[in-house]
């Protein structure tokens, strides 16, 4: 049964949270034992998970800088999780102090934490909303109070879409968001995939099983499937690629990167 909008979601910290697990992968302590336990299990199958997360952070950082360089000063980061460090508002506001950032997450603990972190920053807000209900995001007063959706926005869907099952219609949700954005807007997206993981699929699938057990299924999608999230947008060079390959800051040899950093794909699309 669909939960009515005004009915609160229960808080159960005995259940692992993907945001807090992500924080743990990145060496943070914003997590509880249940989170760490699940994360350690996932790492038994994919020891390089922290490197994948790190590659995500690095990609996001480069993409945000690219957006600022393209003249964008509004950011909508959906699935922002626990802000550990190097967050969108830090990166964006370092490059452009006037940049405005709206974070969205559906995990109440992540939202409460973000509220604490963002206190005093009048150019960054956090809204409790769910990517599966894009209409509520677009109508959220916190977001519409900060961002002007008639002007270009960089929409960040970093490491979030792989937590949305097909039954919840991720393509329709992303399409609705794409539709709502002004021309010139960017879609910044990363997504997990079996492609690029330096392990046999059967082994990596153990991680998927861990996430399934904590009722936060991890959906691996192919390059082609991930590409469809950009429908109607022009891909910014070099397209949808392994995260380290997307506009590296310095020319580098692949050997320098951890092999796990090449798991999954990242890309940026632009609305004409």
């Amino acid at each position: 049964m669909e939960r009515p909008a005004w009915a609160p979601q229960g808080i159960d910290i005995s259940v692992p949270s993907v945001s807090r697990m992500y924080d743990f992968y990145l060496g943070g302590s914003h997590n509880f034992e249940v989170d760490r336990e699940a994360a350690r299990k996932a790492m038994e199958f994919l020891p390089g998970l922290p490197k994948i997360m790190q590659a995500n952070r690095a990609f996001m950082r480069r993409a945000v800088r690219h957006a600022v360089d393209s003249g964008i000063d509004q950011f909508l980061d959906i699935g922002s999780g626990i802000p550990t460090f190097g967050n969108v508002h830090e990166v964006a506001q370092a490059a452009d102090p006037g940049a405005k950032v709206a974070y969205v997450d559906h995990d109440p603990v992540a939202v409460a934490h973000s509220q604490a972190v963002l206190e005093g920053n009048d150019r960054a807000v956090i809204a409790a909303a769910d990517l599966r209900r894009p209409k509520e995001i677009l109508a959220n007063p916190e977001i519409t109070g900060l961002l002007d959706l008639d002007r270009p926005v960089a929409l960040l869907l970093v490491a979030v879409l792989h937590f949305i099952e097909d039954a919840d219609e991720p393509y329709a949700a992303v399409a609705e968001l794409r539709e709502a954005l002004a021309p010139g807007s960017l879609l910044v997206l990363t997504h997990a995939s079996y492609e690029g993981i330096p392990l046999p699929k059967a082994e990596a699938a153990g991680t998927v099983g861990v996430y399934k057990n904590i009722r936060n299924p991890l959906i691996m999608r192919s390059h082609e499937e991930i590409g469809r999230f950009f429908e109607g947008y022009e891909m910014v060079e070099p397209g949808l690629v392994s995260m380290p390959e997307w506009r590296p800051d310095t020319p580098q040899s692949p050997e320098q990167e951890d092999p796990y950093a090449f798991s999954g794909f990242g890309g940026v699309g632009r609305k004409a």
Partner: protein, 724 residues
Amino acid sequence: MSIPAQASGEPDAEPDGPEGRLRRFARIWSRAIFPLTATSLTRPEFEQHLLPLARELNGILHAHPFDASPAQRIGAALIDAHCTDPDALSSTLGVVDSYLVLYCGGNGPGPLSIEDGRARCARIQHTLAAGFTGALRERTLAEQEAIARSALTARSHAEEALHATEARFRAVFKDAAIGIGIADLDGNILEINDTLTRMFGGLEHHVRSHKVNEWVHPEDSPQVWKYYDELVRGEREHYRVEKAYYRNDGTVLWTNLTVSLLRDSEGRPEYQLALMEDTTERRLLNLRLRYEATHDALTGLPNRTLFFERLEKALTAQEGGRFGLCYLDLDGFKAINDSLGHAAGDRLLVEVADRLQSCATAPGEMVARLGGDEFVALTTGPDTAEEVHELAGRILNALATPIRLDGRELSVRGSIGIVEGPAGERSAAEVLRSADITMYRAKAAGGNRFQLADAEADERAITRHGLTTALPAALDRGEFFIEYQPLVHLGDGTVHGAEALVRWCHPQHGVLGPDRFIPLAEHTGLIVPLGRWVLEESVRQANFWQERHSDGGPLRINVNLSPTQLHHPRLVAETVDVLERSGLEPGALCLEVTESALIGADDDLLKPLRQLAEMGVDIALDDFGTGYSNLANLRRLPVSVLKLDRSFTRGMQQHPADPVDLKIVEGIVSLAHSLELAVTVEGVETGAQADQLRRIGCDTAQGWYYARPGAPDRIHSLLLADAV
């Protein structure tokens, strides 16, 4: 820091100079720990980030006096750069141990002995490790506290929201106008609201003492429990039914019941939620309204609406279905109503209704009251051809026993029109009209009988019906006109006068003669205004002729009076009025009255005629010889003219004339003359007839031999011809 920090991006450091060596140390350090960090910095950025730390290490190594404590900050700075992995510390210590003295040993202001260098380097490592650990502990604690506080905040938000939600739900539950109940899947009732308790009669334990599946009621539709079973099995999310319950006092509660399945967070069926709306009163009201809308208030029989519903159903029945309809109208009911009063009339109708009801008790039979004293009985099924006659017979039989009313016995009879036939051919309205017409035929045939509809009789009646309903408007629209047929003096062949004959120029049927519509006008009473119009028009015309024909003596006008007009109380007054307004002398007007209208006439009826005769108006006895010609009666009547019916002159058309007819006419003429009555003959068509009649002594004649009825100006031209 003893060595001033240089700008980090100094490009021109010599590879073997102090700055160059410092950078090499930083690069080695960066290479060692970058893979262990979670930073989002790039390698070069990270290396740049470590360079000031390397410079600080260099400063500590060479400081005089030596003090390792600033190395704590280096350890803490690693934590700030998100190098929280314990391996980042051991790698850092390894790099410091192996390379700090090697690359930075010669960077100081003075030489550093190997021993001193090693000792200082070891102290730096100890302090750095302590700084790292301390900072990591601080950070860990801070983050743990932050996340715990966030979790608490989130939980208290959620609890507040939950509390608000619960309060809202509680209010909805408690104050809802509909009954709400929650039960488990075994049917045990867990919670009910006050409204539900009230609906069930006000005793909570009465409701709670029964499981949901024990609330069976005889009127439950089969779906009610099928849906219930499906729902508790988790195969159905909700259902909505109309369901009856027994209240604790045994009365029935009718509800609109909606039941929903509630599942737990895992999706397993857990509870059933029932929402009930009390529809008892609405249902009773609906039943009553439906009953009232479909039944006759006086007799309790089904009314016209319900009858039509049934008839329509019978007429749209499956192939092979037939229907039989009896349309009953009581004979002479109006007289009973008029003489005994409406209350008695109503009681009579109730008794009749009861008797009729007892005649139609078989399945497929029904009796209804259409209104007034009109009833219908319907029978359906395959054998209605026989059954409908039996039904009609039973009805007449049932009416045969006199009805006792206020101490008297009234004989009630009825006329029945029967329509019988297969379904699917005619509409209900057509069937009913045919039955109505047929009933009138039964009535016209004397009543107390039934007749079966036949298409031809229907057709005639339908035309008659059409003309009857069109009559009033026809008079308003001036569709009537008058033709005049000359009356000729048999003695000298001069035009003596004319008879006014009314015609109806009907928009569809063309010109209609009086035989087509006068009886209808007579029946509806329209004859009174129509007759007055004819009188006015004819008198006006006669007056016109008189003025034009002043030399030819007075020209008379004959106008027909119908029986109804004879009875009309204002006959004399209106005739006088018409004459006075036109200026025509009364002697120029002759009113023709049929012999049959005067049969058995008493003095009251003759009085107006006498008054008119005394004024000088001639009264002619029309169609004489067709009725019961009471010759003795002739003396009493105020008539001055006898008009012999055309049947007498028919025998004179042949040559030689029928001697018997001749004798009869001769006798009548002689008798009339002896009573001082003039004789006019109608239907003269040949010269021979005219000769004979003249010889016999008839006074005036009319007929085609002289002229057919025609427009008034034709009379005028006849007069002119006559005068020449």
